[in-house]
Structures are given as C-alpha cells and as structure tokens.
C-alpha cells in the first residue's frame, strides 16, 4: 500500500485527497484552517486521515501541496519590506504602471499603494539599449550609499530591475553581485532571473511579488518539512503551480511567484481531469468559496493560459491558468437601495464573520443565508460537522430587506439568489466573447463549498446543456495536485521579423531554452521519467501592439522553415480574431518553451451502472420558482452509479449541498458524478 496525498489550503478549510493506486481508493477530508499558525492543520489532518481511513503517514510516497500562503501574504500586505534598485529617471515605473485604472467612471479612482513605496526606490546611472548594447555601465559606486539608506529604513531584501534586462541580464547581475558583497544579509532578486520578459512594468512587478512573499514562503516550507518529518512521511513534497503543474517544494523558496495561484490553478486542473474521466472536454468550471466565484473554461480538454492574473491589487505576469474572479460568493451581502432595488455584493462577509446562519458573528444577510431560508441548506452536517446552521437567524436578517421590497422573506431570499446568478451571468458572457465560444456547448462543473449550490441555477441562466457535479466537490483543488505533471515555463524575448535572417537566432534561443528546461527537469526536479517540450511563440503583425501565442513545431526552427511559422500564425490569427493578413510581415516577440515531466496518469475505473430510480431520504420543504414545494432530499452517499432522478431536488453531502431546480434530469455516472441535462 502506498498513498499519494493531495493537500490544498484555502481561506477557511484545508482539504485532503488521498489516493491508493492498488485498491483504487480515494479518501477525502476537510479541516478548518488555523490562520494564526499556517501549516499546523496539516498535522491534524494527516492524523485524522490515519484514524478515519487508515492512511499510514509512513506509506505516503507522494505529497502534492497547494497553498494560499503566498497570495494571502499579498492580499493582507504582510510581506517583506523591500527596496528597488533601477535606472535613474525611471523610478516611477511601478507607480505609473500601465496608467489605466479600474473604475474609469469615478473621479475618485485610485491606484493601490505600491508594495515598494517611492522612498524605497533608488535610481542609479546605467543603461542597456534595446538591441542589447550597453550604453552606460551601472554605477556600482552608488551602491554603498544606497545600502546605507536601505539599512536605515530597515528593508529585508532588494529587487534589481534594469531596462532591457530581458535582452542582457548582465547589468542586473552586476548590481546584485555588488549588493551581495556589500550587504550579504539582504536577499536580492533580479527581474530577469524571475521572469525575463520584455515590458519593464510587468517584469518588475512580477519580481517584486516574488521578493515580497519570499521570506514567508520560505518559513512556511520549513514548517512543512518539519511536519512531514514528524509524521514520518517519506514523500518529497511537491507544490502545485500557477501554471497548473508541479515543482519540488524546495524550488518554491525562490520561484515564489510560480506558486501564487497554486490552489486556483490546481482546481481547474482537477476539474479538467474529472471531466475527462467522464468523457467531457468542453467545460466551464465554477469554483465558489466565501467571497468570490472563480470561472475558467476548458476547451477541447485544455485549460486556457494567460498572463496578468490579478493577485490582490497587482498583476502577475508568469504564465498562469486563466481564471475570472467576481465578488459573488457564499458570503456576498445583499442590500436594498432607496428605490427598492436589490443588490448583491461585491461587499462580503467572507468566512469571518460569515453568513448570519453560521452564528459566527455575521449580522448582514448573505447568499448562504438566502439558501438557508429557501430550505436548500441545513439537511446534513456542514463541513464535516464543523459548522451548524441557524435558519431563524437567517430569516431575521433577510426580513428587513423583505419589508423594503414588499415581498415575503422566502421570495426575497430567492430574489437574492437570482440577482447573484445574473451578476455571474455578466462575467460568463464576457468570457464567452473573449474566447469566441458558445456556452451552450459547454458542461458546467461546479465545485468548492458553494459551487454546487449555485451551479445548476447558473447553468439554467446561461443555457449550458449539462452540469456535472463531482462526487467530492470540496476537494477538487487537492485532487488537482494528484493528477498534475511537473511543469515549468521558459522564455526568451527575440523581437525579430520572421524571415530567413531570424532563423539562426531562433535556433540558438530554442537550444538555450531546451537546455534550461532539461536542466530544470532532470537536475532540478531529479526526474527521470518521460518528458515533453511544448514550443510556442508570441507573434504579431508588424505594427500591432499585442501578441498572440502560437504553437510551433520545433522542427520548423531546426530546418529554418520561417514560412511555416508565419503560416501557423496566420491560421491562429484567423481562429482567434476571425481575420488574418498574410501580406503583412510577422514579428516574433517571445519564444517560449514549456517543459513537462509526465507523471504516471491517475485512473479510476468506472463503477458498473445500476439503472434505477433513486430513492429520496425524505421529502423536504424548499422554496423554488416562487413557491414552497415538497422536494426530494437525496443523500449523496446513497446515490449509486446508474441512479436517476429529476429536479427539483436537493442532494446533501458532508462537504456541500447540490441544488437542482426544475427542468433538469439527473443521472449518476460510473465515477459517481451527478450529470444534469436540461430538459428541452
């Protein structure tokens, strides 16, 4: 017996998903987090897994971990105090950012306070040019004075970011080396070593995020190692990454930005895996927690990647699984304005104080309270018995809104849900237009604590043909770690017109990337299994100001086939933008390589189907579509493969509740997913 353990720490819970290959067994668990001592819950959970499911820590030979410690450090602004050394004359690059602000209609729009304020930014003479020539050497003689100033202000580390360092990092390197000599106690990161991409603001900000979370992540990892050692687990821990892959935990100490979105990304990876098992490959994932709803699309089995995902107030520019987030979660607060119009969110009661019905100090009515009033929630233990539900308190909290709207409390509760769903609908419409897809062809996969509560309502609103509710929606992120591959991204900015003249340079760049990738995988990760390289390029028509990532066959570069590269871009441009322009020269901005170490695939065998009508545990009163209705309540553990039932229905389980409105036919598949199909 050997266990692989996926562990994901979120805001409220730490989720466990353990898999035993021989017996094809999956065990899951949720434990409340201990925000005061992040990491402590890990030991608690592993011991509980042993007690309840017989998971022997000594037999855990795979440990895949996702954590929000990085992102929380940024959101709560509890990271390191940093200084920035950059080119004189460009000290304000991080404050100006890309100029455009959120809330463009408000005269009160503002930018967030920077993680490095202007008094901690130090400009030095020195200039690299866009073609890689050094116009002026960096003024290292200025550094002693800067170190003195940094010490006076008490910084922990320094970020070094110089113009055009993506082209030649030697200036940054020289500054970092001199800083290390002058102040060995200050850690330093250069912009090019974190992510060597053209665009100074994006590169600098990414390096700052890295340095900002570095000490906390390093400390967190120390704790993680100690816990695993105490438990006698032999596993070498791996971390889930923003790009949906894995890396050795040790690497997380320095490549901190690569794990900032670890939980979010592995949720999408886990959902993609579950859907693939069920034979679905066009997916809209819906992960709803306390404060937000995260949406992602999987097209033809592939998650979508992008850069510029927001981490709190700041964009992250390493490749990440694309997720759209809106402020509509279980804790989103409902209110009525002076005209009797109901609003839901973006204000949220979060997980603390949380919804009124949880009795943890919340006083304002939330979506969860609305669900409680409607009778959808409260039929089983919540969160494995760690929370209890007070419907009366929820009713009392919604009563004032009901009075203001001249509706019953139940009707008001349903209106809260409807408004929240229509807010999510706006976000889904944006995504559909961005990707050029029709959501009616997609299957909605809800997960997270509140995803299954809202998922079918949203599917009804956007017209998704199907909904797939995984058996264990609370631990999809933890599962994502179990099924992910080792994966890392490498980039070279080339900035050349695609043509015969550029090919030698491209070949050189690709060889370098391949060598970096191999070194990362073989030496860095100690991996000797099968590997894969995916080569892409950021291409554009000359004169465009945005690039389109296009997959390349490495053989084109090896054989000097520039025409094939251009043709691939024309085709891609047509696919995404619905037009192309074969007469215009193509520019290659960045060459990218993704190195993947393929881990043994996880397979679960479908159970044989027992075609039968599912029998409800009992009938309950639920307010749906404007009336109290007697609705069957099913217990999830009693729903076997092949069982069928029809909405309206409620399915209760230990980590969530699945609400199924009228108009859906439900069937349990061989992997125990509940598949809903909208009746025509």
């Amino acid at each position: 017996m050997s266990w692989k353990l996926g562990v994901d720490i979120g805001g409220t819970f730490i989720d466990f998903c353990a898999f035993e290959a021989e017996t094809n067994r999956i065990c899951t668990l949720k434990v409340l987090t201990t925000p005061g001592a992040p990491g402590q819950e890990l030991g608690t959970g592993i011991r509980l897994l042993q007690d309840r499911h017989g998971v022997d820590p000594g037999q855990i030979d795979g440990f895949m971990h996702g954590t929000t410690v990085g992102i929380n450090t940024i959101i709560q602004r509890k990271g390191a105090k940093l200084a920035l050394v950059t080119n004189a004359g460009f000290e304000d690059v991080i404050e100006l950012a890309r100029l455009r602000m959120p809330q463009v209609y408000s005269l009160f729009c503002t930018r967030p306070e920077q993680l490095i304020t202007r008094d901690m930014v130090f400009g030095i003479a020195g200039r690299m040019l866009s073609d890689g020539r050094e116009e002026t050497a960096p003024d290292l003689a200025a550094l002693p004075g800067i170190v003195e100033a940094i010490r006076a202000k008490g910084a922990d580390g320094v970020i070094v970011a110089m113009l055009h360092a993506y082209r030649d990092p030697s200036q940054e390197h020289a500054v970092k080396t001199e800083l290390a000599r002058l102040a060995p106690d200050l850690y330093a990161f250069t912009s090019a070593e974190v992510w060597p991409v053209i665009r100074e603001y994006e590169r600098t900000t990414t390096a700052i995020l890295n340095g900002y979370v570095h000490p906390r992540i390093a400390g967190y990892l120390d704790g993680l190692y100690a816990t695993l050692e105490d438990l006698g687990a032999p596993a070498q821990p791996l971390l889930t990454k923003s790009n949906g892959g894995l890396m050795r935990a040790e690497e997380g100490r320095t490549a901190c930005v690569n794990m900032l979105l670890s939980g979010t990304a592995s949720g999408v990876i886990g959902a993609a895996w579950l859907a693939r098992q069920a034979g679905e490959d066009r997916i809209l994932t819906l992960d709803i927690g306390g404060t937000s709803a995260d949406l992602a699309v999987i097209i033809d089995g592939k998650p979508q990647f992008g850069t510029g995902e927001m981490i709190g107030d700041f964009p992250l520019h390493v490749p990440s699984v694309s997720v759209s987030s809106i402020g509509a979660g279980g804790g989103s607060i409902a209110s009525v304005d002076g005209f009797g119009v109901l609003k839901v969110g973006p204000e949220s009661a979060g997980s603390t104080p949380g919804p009124v019905c949880y009795g943890r100090g919340g006083t304002q009515p939330t979506i969860t309270d609305a669900m409680a009033v409607m009778g959808i929630l409260g039929h089983s233990d919540i969160a494995y018995g760690q929370l209890s539900m007070d419907v009366g308190a929820a009713r009392a909290a919604i009563a004032p809104l009901a009075e203001a709207m001249g509706r019953s409390i139940e009707a008001t509760a349903e209106a809260i849900v409807e408004i929240a769903i229509s807010e999510m609908f706006v976000e889904v419409e944006k995504m559909a237009a961005r990707y050029g897809i029709d959501m009616r062809d997609f299957t909605l996969v809800p997960f997270g604590g509140a995803g299954p509560l809202m998922g079918a309502f949203l599917a009804r609103e956007i017209g998704c043909a199907k909904v797939m509710a995984p058996r264990r929606p609370g631990v999809v992120s933890a599962l994502g770690g179990l099924v992910a591959d080792l994966k890392s991204d490498f980039i070279r900015t080339v900035f050349e017109e695609v043509g015969p003249g550029a090919m030698p340079r491209l070949a050189r760049a690709l060889a370098e990337l391949e060598a970096e990738g191999e070194a990362w995988l073989r030496q860095g990760q100690g991996f000797d299994g099968p590997a894969l390289s995916q080569v892409t390029a950021d291409l554009r028509y000359a004169g465009q100001s945005f690039e389109l990532e296009t997959a390349l066959d490495p053989a084109w570069i090896a054989e000097g086939d520039d025409a094939a590269i251009a043709a691939a871009f024309h085709a891609r441009h047509e696919e995404v933008y619905e037009f192309n322009d074969p007469g215009t020269p193509v520019e290659l901005i960045n060459l990218r390589l993704v190195k993947i170490g393929q881990r043994p695939g996880l397979e679960t065998l479908p159970a044989p189907l027992t075609e039968a009508e599912a029998q409800p545990d009992r009938l309950i009163e639920v307010w749906l579509d404007g009336a109290w209705r007697e609705v069957p309540l099913f217990l999830r553990e009693a729903l076997e493969a092949g069982y069928r039932f029809a909405g309206p229905a409620i399915v209760a389980q230990e980590d969530t509740t699945f609400a199924i409105p009228a108009g859906f036919a439900a069937k349990v598949d061989g992997h125990l997913n509940i598949m809903l199909e909208q009746e025509a």
Partner: protein, 657 residues
C-alpha cells in the same frame, strides 16, 4: 409596472449583452486605436435610440447617455439585417468628429423594431488635409476628411460595397478602417443575438417594460443625487490656453442651476465658435452627450451604483447658444474637440464643486497629450510613425485622500506603452519617464503629480506632435484653499544652452541628438496646505513627490535632518496663515494676471459684442480686440473699428450695458 427584481436582472442581462459586444469588438478589431487606446464604445439602444446599457470594462467613457435618434431618423424603411452608419458631425449630431464612425443595427421582433445594437470606432484616418484627419489648425469641416451622412452600410445582411469603395478611395489606411468596421458589425450582430435571447427568455412585453424601467431607474437615481444638492445657481468659468495656434484663450462659462431634482446647465457666455478645429458640435441638443460627459463623472462619483444610460440625462437641460464654441454652425471644423471637451469637463466639475464642495475633488490635470513621432529608422532607412505615450497628469485632491499621481479622474481610461517596446520599435531613447516633483497642487489633500517624459531622437527632421496640449497657461485649479497645480510644458533640450521653449505648441521638429521634454499639468490641491499633517508632508518629501523647499514654502513644514521641526513648523504656519487668501478656487498667478485685465465683467462685455456680430466676424473680432485690450473692452473695440473701417455696425446697447 415591472417588479424591481426582474428590473435588476434585466439590467444585468443588458449589461452582459453590452460587455459581450465590447469583448467581441476588442478581440476582432484591427487598429491600435481600438486595441490599445480603447477608443470605441458599444451600447444597446431602445427603439427611440436612447442608450439602455453600456459595458463597464472596456472602451471610452463618453457615450453612456448618448441618443442616436437624430441619425436613426435620417434613414427610413429599416429591414432586418440592415445597419446604418455615419461619421458626419453635422448630420444628426451623433458623430462628433470625422474619425468617429457610428453604426446602429435595428433588432426586430415580429416585424417591429424592439431595440438597436450600436457603437462607434475611432478610425485612424478619414482622409482630408492631414494624416489622422486631426489638426488644430484646420478651419472647416471639409478639411477634416470624407463625411458620410446617415445611410445604410449593410442592406439586409449585405455590405454596401460602393460605400466601402468610396471610403477606400478617400482615406489613408483603408484596411484598418474596413477591418475595424467589420469587427464592429460583428459586435452589433452579437448584441442583436443577445437581445433576441433576452426576449425569448423574458418575453417581449417584459423586455419592453424593462427598457423603460431601466431608463426610469437611472433617472430616479440621478434625481436623488440632484435632490441632495442645495438649490441655487453656481457660476464658473474655465479657459483653454489657445483658440488656435499661438492664439488667445478660449473662455467656457457655465451657470449651473439646481432646482429640486433638476438641473440647468447654461453655457451662455462661452466663446463664439472658433476658426480652428476646437469646436464641439452639439446640434442644440439640450442633452447632447458631449455636454454631459462631465455630468456622468459627477453622478457616478457621487453614486457608483448608478445605472449608466440615457435616463440619467433626463433631469438635465443644457443651453449652448448656436454659433458658440459649444454649438458651432456648419462648416466649423471640429476635429480637435477633445481638447475643448477636457475644459468642458473641468468647467462642470468646478460648478458642481461650488454646489457641493464637501463631496467634490479639485481639478484634474485635464490635458492628456497624445505624443506621436514621425522619423526615420537609421537601421532600415524606413520612415516610422509611432504613438509614444499619452502624457496624462494626476487627479485633483479628493475629500479624503490625495489625487492619484500620473493619471486619474477623467483620464483614467488611457494606457501607456512600455518603454522597452517603444525603444525596440522606434528609434527614440527615453531619458526619463515618471512623476514630476512639486507639480501637484498643495493642499490638505495634495493634487496628483504630473507625468514627465523625455526622449532623444537620432534623425534630422524628426517631427513630434502632442495633440490636446493644454493647461500650459491656465493651471488646474485648487479648491477650498488648496493651490493650483503646476502647468504643463514642452521644450527641446531642457537645461542645455540650446534649450528651446515650445509654449503651448503641439508640434515640434527635432534634429539628431535633441531631447524632447514634455510634462503634463498636475492635479489641483484641496483644502489649506497648512492643515496637511506634517507627517504626510514629510512622507511626500521622502518619496520625492514634494521637495524640501516646497514643503517649507507651500506647506509651511520645516524639516531638519529628515524630521519635522515641530516648533519651526508651527511658527512658519502661523506666519503664513494671514496670506493664504480667500475664496473657493485657487487659480494660480497666470489666470489671476489674465483676469486682472480681462475681468469676468470685461469678458462678458466682449462676449456680448461678439454675439452681436455676424457669425463670420466673431473670431476675427475677438482676435483683434484681444490684440488691443489694455483694460477697457470698449476702448479696444474702438481701436479695432478705427483700424478696420468695414467692421460691421452693432447695437452696443446691451453689449456695453
């Protein structure tokens, strides 16, 4: 009547349709104007052409209350699959300069038009006298490119190729125009499909009731805001630096009357229309969107949950006299109306600030120069035309915080281009790009700092344009004791022996090795700088936003060894207090000096004289009177008459009053 829950859900669905249109257009458009500058808008209109819903994420901010009826009505017999279009600023008053091309597509249900999907793109060029079709120096609309009065571009789903051929023959970058136009057509079709989906879901009656309900709701929200503003008439003037190349100031005047839940914006007293392209075409529409843009900002700022649609314009009535700069008569040129529109917005902010000083910020920088360079790349010997960056200034001091630095307020939608990208593509080398110390108006809440940019060029005859330059003379004003901000400026080779000041010019020619320096204005300050906590002033000094000298001179904060000298500060502030001045606004020395000669009464007198003249004499007369003004307008007028015996006789009774 529609219930409020359905109304809110319909509002979300309508916005979803608009967002979907915006993302579709953004994804499929060709030009940098649409892709990078986001100079486009899309919306859903009701059958009367009133805007129902707009996107919040993408696009420009100018059209949330636009009404298309003027253009819609100039075409009859709409059929399914038709799309109308126009770019003519003088036909229907939907388009407001030639590059802006508006399209609208009727959506039918059972043979009746239930709404329109509509939008505009800013075309890179529409032909005419200059590349990009925009120059301050143009004097009549015919120089500003080809104009298409409202007509069908698409007939029953078939594009009118003849129209496209005429456009292709007349513009400089036809591929970009056609590509963007097709992208907008795609977006309109998407919007139409989304509306059909809404009708299928909610039923046509609910949908129709929803259109009215959404307009009524926005109107009610706007009325609630107006009701919270004290009744009264609030009069304010603001000035653009020049009415033409090297010309005289332009005065815009507003009497804002709040009565209950309604408001009148009377722009009488603003300058007559100009013999340059700074005119703002509004067609005597009492709720024309260009007159209302400042109002959109005020309303949204006061209630960020307000629904943005034409309904919010209903409680407002604008009066812009025909023949004035805010309501020019054909064929006045209008290409650079965006410069004047920036003043128009600050005019409105200023008047509302008088009415509700506790809730309004000081003036934003209000001059967003778009810097372009035309040069030769020495490596390829090819000529290069590139947009370098918008140079935008900070927001004004707010009621409870400093103005945002470097951009903000009514210019927050603009984006810059990374230096590394520009240097790779264009043969320029940046020497500096950042914030300008001491450029924010001093105040209890400091104005946002200006942006400064310096770059070197390497090729003879390199031409620079900096469209929309303003605020080099008349500074963004401070309020409630806050000071005016630093003005904008542009020069060549700053601090060198061959320095060359450029004043308010928006073009420059550089030679190899020359450095162009340009900076915007800052944002105005709010509240007395003597009330700013010394620790904040110290922080500003540490961050380089404020110099130690300015901390002492403007804020009365004395610093010693990196700390506040409390005693010296208290003493200095006591000494400064009596000299801090009175009144709601602080305009800075330039406007004070100007108004010492051109007192508000004198300028009113000038306006009256000009109003009494035939239209084609007004700009000439203004220029000549300005030239001879030494303190008395009537003396100056007499001098003009003496020099120009053909000057028309005017009845001066009311003018002289």
């Amino acid at each position: 009547m529609l219930d409020k829950v359905t109304l809110q859900i319909l509002a979300n669905h309508s916005r979803a349709a608009a967002e979907n249109m915006a993302h579709t257009l953004y994804r499929t458009a060709h030009s940098t104007f649409v892709k990078e500058t986001e100079d486009f808008t899309v919306m859903i209109l009701d059958p009367q052409g009133r805007t129902i819903a707009v996107p919040m994420d993408l696009g420009a901010t100018w059209h949330v209350g636009i009404t298309y009826d003027g253009a819609i009505d100039m075409i009859d017999d709409y059929r399914p699959g038709d799309i109308g279009f126009t770019n003519d600023p003088y036909s229907g008053f939907v388009a407001t300069h030639a590059p802006d091309t508006h399209l609208w597509m009727p959506v039918f249900h059972e043979g009746e038009i239930v709404c329109y999907a509509a939008g505009h793109i800013h075309n890179t060029d529409m032909g005419g006298a200059v590349a990009a079709s925009l120059s301050r120096s143009l004097t009549e609309i015919h120089q500003e490119g080809i104009r298409f009065p409202p007509m069908k571009l698409v007939n029953g789903g078939v594009m009118d190729e003849q129209v496209m051929r005429i456009m292709t023959a007349n513009v400089r970058k036809p591929d970009l125009n056609i590509g963007d136009t097709k992208a907008l057509i795609g977006a309109l079709k998407t919007g139409a499909k989304k509306v059909e989906g809404m009708i299928a879901k909610f039923g046509v009656d609910t949908f129709r009731a929803g259109l009215d309900g959404m307009l009524d709701y926005a109107e009610a929200q706007a009325r609630e805001i107006l009701g919270s503003i004290p009744d009264g008439t609030y009069t304010f003037c603001d000035y653009a630096d020049e009415d033409s190349q090297g010309g005289n100031p332009v005065r815009l005047k507003l009497a804002l009357t709040i009565r209950g839940e309604e408001a009148i914006l009377d722009f009488t007293g603003s300058d007559p229309q100009l013999a340059s392209s700074l005119n703002v075409p509004t067609g005597s529409d009492p709720r024309h969107t260009l007159l209302m843009v400042g109002v959109y900002y005020v309303l949204y700022t006061l209630n960020p949950k307000i629904l943005l649609n034409t309904g919010l314009t209903r409680p407002f009535t604008c009066i812009a006299p025909e023949g004035s700069v805010l309501n020019p008569v054909f064929p006045a040129a209008v290409g650079m109306r965006s410069l004047t529109c920036a003043r128009l917005r600050s005019l409105i902010f200023g008047a509302f600030g008088l009415a509700i000083p506790e809730r309004m910020p000081a003036a934003p920088a209000g001059s967003s120069s778009i810097v372009n360079v035309m040069t030769t790349d020495e490596r390829t010997r090819k000529s290069v035309i590139a947009a370098i960056n918008p140079v935008v200034g900070g927001g004004g001091g707010m009621p409870h915080r400093d103005g945002s630095n470097g951009s903000g307020a009514d210019a927050a939608y603009l984006k810059n281009t990374p230096i590394e990208i520009t240097e790779t593509e264009t043969p320029v080398r940046f020497e500096r790009y950042g914030l300008l110390q001491d450029s924010g108006g001093a105040g209890r809440w400091r104005g946002g700092l200006a942006t400064v940019m310096e770059f070197r060029v390497f090729t003879p005859g390199t031409r620079i344009t900096a469209r929309n330059r303003d605020r080099s003379v008349f500074r963004p004003w401070g309020i409630l004791g806050g000071r005016a901000a630093g003005p904008s400026d542009m020069n060549i080779n700053p601090g060198k022996a061959n320095e060359q000041p450029l004043g308010n010019t928006d073009i420059a020619v550089l030679q190899p090795g020359d450095v162009l320096h340009i900076h915007s204005a800052g944002g105005g300050g709010r509240g007395s700088p003597l009330e700013r906590e010394p620790w904040r002033v110290l922080l500003d000094v540490e961050r380089g936003y404020v110099s130690e000298a300015a901390a002492c001179a403007d804020y009365g904060v004395v610093l010693r060894d990196g700390a506040v000298d409390e005693e010296a500060t208290a003493e200095r502030r006591r000494a400064m207090a009596p000299r801090m001045g009175q009144g709601h606004f602080r305009f800075g020395p330039e406007r004070e000096a100007f108004e010492a000669v051109w007192t508000p009464a004198a300028y009113d007198q000038l306006t009256a004289i000009l109003d009494a003249l035939p239209l084609h004499w007004r700009f000439f007369a203004k220029t000549e009177i300005f030239h001879r003004m030494e303190g008395d307008v009537m003396d100056a007028l007499d001098a003009v008459r003496a020099d120009f015996p053909d000057f028309p006789a005017i009845r001066l009774a009311e003018a002289a009053e």
